[in-house]
Every structure is written in structure tokens, then in C-alpha cells.
């Protein structure tokens, strides 16, 4: 029985190892300076890079953070500090979990109707909005969880000193839990960084540098999808490289977060 369970565990992690192996083998040699700094060449011509998509991904993540972090963190504060055990907080928590399960392609449709149609065109704004909204429930739940870990004595001590509650929360509770909140935000960013489906008809893709946020913009996952779907060897090469860069970015955030929160992990297990 132990052997069977062990084999299952090996099978389960095999895809991770294989994906990483193939991406490295097929993509690593194509990662060079041009890949990061150049624009795509005309279709079917060799050369060029994914500079537009790499910049695009970071622009979209910045927008998403601007939208998702304040809403998520403040909402999490409400759950943990104001409504910890009331019925309404149960419903909000439940709603956030449900919202987390909404398929990303559905988010794309909604933001298309909400932002793209009124603006008469796909844009970096629409792409940022969709990723930002997807972050809200993740950040909210993560924030709430870490705020619960802050000992109640901190709050009571501050309140006893006559500090108003909102200052107590912002200056003492949130600050104490800041590390955990940042962790939650980073994990949420890592998750949306790889999203493709919601960007298909919001950010839309752009083969140039996007010059302002009302223009379409590319993103790494979008360009990987386009290139993977194409017949061109050179694009496949770049798509492997792009996939490797994206995977490394996502894994880097995940692993650093795990390493940095090691203590919590050790005590949990």
C-alpha cells in the first residue's frame, strides 16, 4: 500500500518536472537580450523578441495591483476587525470563495461588456481591470487570515492607550501583519500573471509597445498562446522561451514566498 501511494505521489508531481524539463530544454537557448528588448518581426520572419509582451505583463500587473490590493486589503480588514464573527462576514467570506471559483473566461466576458464596449475598443485598462477584479477575493481572504494571527493583546493595548480604532488597525495591526499581507498579494499577482483567457478580448494583444493605457496591450501568456498556435519554428522557439520566462517568474514568486514564510509553514506541518 505504501508503494502504491508512493507511486501516486510520483505520478502527481511528474508533470511539474516534465514541464520544467521541456521548457528548459526547448526554451533556454532562445532567452537572450533580443528576446527581452525587441518587438516581434513580421510574420514568418526570423528574429525579434517578446519585449512588448514582457512589458505588457508588468503593466497589467501594476494596474491589477492598483485595483485589487486596496479593495482586497480593506475588505479583509473589515472581515477580521469589524465583523469577525457576525453572520454577514460568513456570507462575505463565502461570497469571496465563490468568486474565486468564477472561471477566468467568464471574467473576460464581463469586463468586455463593462469596459471594452463602452470604450469602443480593447485596452490595457480593460486588461488591468479584469486581472485586478480577479485579485480582489484572493487578497481579501489572505488579508483576513493573517490579521487573525495578530494577537488580540496588541489591539487592546493600543485602544487602552486611547488610540482610535482605525489608527490602531492601520498602524499596529496591519503593520504587524504586513509581511503576511504582502505574501498574499504576491501570490495573487503570481496567479493572475499567468492568466490568458480573460485577456483574449480585453487586453487583446499588440505587436508594438503600448503607448498609453487606452490602447491594446500584449502580455506574455497571450503572446505564448498566439505563437504556440502558429506554424512558425521561430515563433515556437520564442514561445518556449516565453513560457520558460513566465514559469520562472511565477515559480520565483511562489518559492520566495514559501521560503520567506518558512516559519509559519513549519509550525503548521
Amino acid at each position: 500500500m505504501q508503494a502504491i501511494a508512493f507511486i501516486c505521489a510520483v505520478l502527481v508531481i511528474a508533470p511539474l518536472v516534465l514541464v520544467f524539463y521541456h521548457l528548459t530544454r526547448l526554451g533556454f537557448s532562445s532567452i537572450n537580450w533580443a528576446f527581452f528588448t525587441q518587438l516581434p518581426k513580421a510574420v514568418g520572419e526570423t528574429g525579434g523578441g517578446m519585449g512588448n509582451a514582457i512589458v505588457g505583463t508588468f503593466v497589467l500587473l501594476a494596474e491589477a495591483a492598483v485595483i485589487g490590493v486596496p479593495i482586497g486589503v480593506l475588505g479583509g480588514v473589515f472581515l477580521a476587525e469589524y465583523a469577525s464573527s457576525s453572520g454577514i462576514s460568513w456570507w462575505i467570506r463565502f461570497g469571496a470563495d465563490i468568486l474565486n471559483g468564477v472561471p477566468s473566461i467568464v471574467w473576460g466576458l464581463v469586463v468586455y461588456a463593462l469596459v471594452v464596449m463602452p470604450m469602443h475598443g480593447a485596452s490595457a485598462i480593460a486588461g488591468g481591470v479584469v486581472l485586478g477584479l480577479m485579485m480582489v477575493p484572493m487578497v481579501m481572504r489572505a488579508t483576513e487570515e493573517v490579521l487573525h494571527l495578530v494577537p488580540g493583546g496588541y489591539r487592546e493595548a493600543a485602544l487602552a492607550l486611547g488610540i482610535s480604532k482605525w489608527k490602531t488597525i492601520l498602524q499596529i495591526v496591519v503593520r504587524t501583519a504586513l509581511r503576511g499581507i504582502v505574501t498574499g498579494v504576491l501570490l495573487a499577482l503570481a496567479r493572475v500573471a499567468g492568466e490568458t483567457a480573460p485577456l483574449l478580448f480585453t487586453a487583446f494583444g499588440n505587436t508594438h509597445w503600448a503607448r498609453n493605457l487606452s490602447q491594446p496591450i500584449s502580455a506574455l501568456p497571450l503572446q505564448i498562446f498566439d505563437y504556440a498556435n502558429s506554424p512558425y519554428d521561430d515563433w515556437h522557439r520564442q514561445a518556449w522561451a516565453g513560457a520558460l520566462v513566465l514559469l520562472l517568474l511565477v515559480l520565483f514568486i511562489n518559492i520566495s514566498v514559501r521560503v520567506l514564510t518558512r516559519e509559519r509553514w513549519r509550525t503548521k506541518s
Partner: protein, 327 residues
């Protein structure tokens, strides 16, 4: 009286007067601000529902319930039915669960009951990292690495060995319903495994000890004391995985072959609710066409909301708030 004052008053009776009333306004404003942000969850849920419903209205009015059972999808003549996509979604998710459930639960058992302690933490991290791989990368890898391998080594064996079943007949295309189901299973295994692991860990040690005391073997302990105790929670974990499988888009779009199909063969190309939106939305030329795609989105939303709600409720009732399901 707000919660903070209540705490203080309770702690030091009779002190309420003595507390200086600093920034009542700031307190109120901040509380309202956080409340509004928290309620944005409901706003978003309503907004999603409303936008999809609004977008889908022309199709809802024109086709009614027939939309769900008709298999005609004909953009040229403006006749739309979602059956092939519902079918594709159900079948790929079912295949994914068939593969993922035994693997995930065995792995969770391995992680909590059997594995040497030094191995547990690295394995858990590996599984979490697997969950972090973006869907488009799995799809890309799946199409260029996994599918050719399955096409050369696994599918011919299935056809010759199990060809008497209607599922494994017909020529396989490489990208097909089965390929999509397999990539989906890879994507939901980490979720089911990590939630199951939390569930199994929350089984009280007393359960196990009692079973050992009765002379049960290790396997019997796991089966009787742990698994039967955790049944409900494990079911919740599986349903949570199902919720993810139903709505997954990119990897499926890249591996399923994108042709509407209703039939028994898993070697045929198919199409799911999510993949048809990804494929056709940018070019839905007229109002009714895009409206039909919005209705597909509405169906997908409805199904995933119900499934996720069920999963959360199962997990909550099993374990109370201490188990935190991760997505």
C-alpha cells in the same frame, strides 16, 4: 456601541467615560470604507450575473430552454444550441475526475499517514508549485509534448485493448476529448490533493489511536478511522476540483480539437463551454451570435457557482472554519 468599545468596557468595567473620544469621525469613516470594500464581493457577484444576463438576453428570449438541449450551432443562420459544449464540458471534467480523484487522495494519504516526515514538506511544496503553472503553459506543453506521446504510445493500446467499448473506437486525432481530460486532471490534482491533505490532517489523532488499540493494521486504520471519518470533507475537495475543471479554458482549448461533438468516442475532437467562448467570441459577427456566447458564459457561471458553493458548504460543515481550502 461598537465592538472596540465593547471590548474595552468589558475588560475594565466602569471605564467607558474615561476613554477620550478621539476621531470618532475617522473611526466611522474607516469602518464604512472597509465595509464598502468588503461588500464589493457581493457587488461583483451581482455585476457578473447581471452583465452576462444582459448580454445573453436576446438569445434567452429567442431560444429559451431549447438552448440547453439543441445541438445546432449555426452562426450563418443564427440558430444556436449549447448541447455539444455542455456535453464536452461534462465529459472532459468526468475524465479529469476519474484520473485525478484516486491519484490525489492516495497522494494525500501518503502525505499525511505514510510518507517519512522529511519527505512531506518538499512534496507539499512541489504540489503547490504544480498548481501555480499557468494554464497556457500546460496547454502548450500538452500539445507539443504530451499529445504526441499519448498518440504514439497510449491511445493505440487503449484502442486495441479496450476497443470493444464504444468509448475507444474511431480514429484518434491527437487533440481530442481524452487529451483535454488528461490535461485537466493534471490541473485539478494539486487542488484536490492539498485540500484532501488538510482534511486528513484535521482528523483527530484519537480516531487513529482508538483503531490501533483495537488491533487494526495501518491500512485498516487509514481506511476505517481516517477515510470514513473524512468522507464528507474529501467529497468537498473533489467537488472543488470539479469546479475548477468545468471552467478551465486555455489548456482545454489547445488540446480538445475544437469541433462540436456529441457521441461516445473520447478520441473525437470536442468543444467545451469555456473553449467555445475563447474560440468564437472575438469574431461573433452579429448581435445574436455574441448573445449566444454570453448565454454560454451564463450557463458556465451558473454551473460553477452551484458546484463551488456545494464544495465550500461540504468543507465548512466537515471541518468548521479551521480548514482553509486553497484555490
Amino acid at each position: 456601541m461598537n465592538a472596540a468599545e465593547a471590548t474595552v468596557t468589558k475588560a475594565v468595567p466602569g471605564m467607558k467615560r474615561a476613554i477620550p473620544r478621539v476621531s470618532r469621525f475617522g473611526d466611522r469613516a474607516f469602518q464604512w470604507l472597509t465595509l464598502i470594500m468588503a461588500f464589493s464581493i457581493f457587488v461583483l457577484i451581482v455585476l457578473i450575473g447581471f452583465e452576462l444576463f444582459y448580454g445573453a438576453r436576446p438569445a434567452l428570449e429567442k431560444f429559451g430552454w431549447r438552448f440547453l438541449v439543441s445541438s445546432t450551432w449555426d452562426p450563418v443562420n443564427d440558430v444556436f444550441g449549447a448541447l455539444p459544449y455542455i456535453y464536452g464540458t461534462v465529459v472532459t471534467s468526468a475524465i479529469a475526475l476519474l484520473i485525478a480523484v484516486p491519484l490525489s487522495i492516495s497522494t494525500a494519504i501518503f502525505l499525511t499517514e505514510l510518507a517519512p516526515l522529511w519527505l512531506r514538506q518538499p512534496l507539499v511544496i512541489f504540489i503547490e508549485l504544480l498548481a501555480a503553472i499557468p494554464s497556457v503553459i500546460l496547454g502548450f506543453w500538452g500539445f507539443y509534448v504530451m499529445v504526441p506521446w499519448l498518440h504514439d504510445h497510449i491511445y493505440p493500446v487503449l484502442r486495441s485493448g479496450l476497443g470493444f467499448l464504444p468509448f475507444f473506437r474511431g480514429s484518434d486525432n491527437g487533440p481530442c476529448i481524452l487529451s483535454a481530460g488528461i490535461i485537466l486532471s493534471i490541473m485539478i490534482i494539486p487542488i484536490i490533493t492539498s485540500v484532501s491533505r488538510e482534511i486528513l490532517r484535521s482528523v483527530p489523532g484519537l480516531q487513529r489511536e482508538a483503531a490501533y488499540a483495537l488491533g487494526a493494521t495501518r491500512w485498516e486504520v487509514t481506511r476505517i478511522a481516517v477515510l470514513s471519518y473524512a468522507k464528507r470533507g474529501l467529497f468537498g475537495a473533489v467537488i472543488l476540483g470539479l469546479g475548477r475543471a468545468l471552467g478551465e479554458t486555455m489548456a482545454v482549448t489547445m488540446l480538445i480539437g475544437n469541433a462540436p461533438y456529441v457521441g461516445t468516442s473520447v478520441f473525437a475532437a470536442g468543444q467545451t463551454l469555456a473553449s467555445v467562448i475563447a474560440n468564437e467570441f472575438t469574431e461573433a459577427t452579429d448581435n445574436l451570435y455574441s448573445s449566444a456566447l454570453f448565454e454560454i458564459g451564463l450557463v458556465l457561471l451558473g454551473v460553477t457557482l452551484v458546484v463551488n458553493a456545494l464544495a465550500r458548504l461540504l468543507l465548512l460543515t466537515f471541518a468548521g472554519p479551521s480548514v482553509k481550502p486553497q484555490q
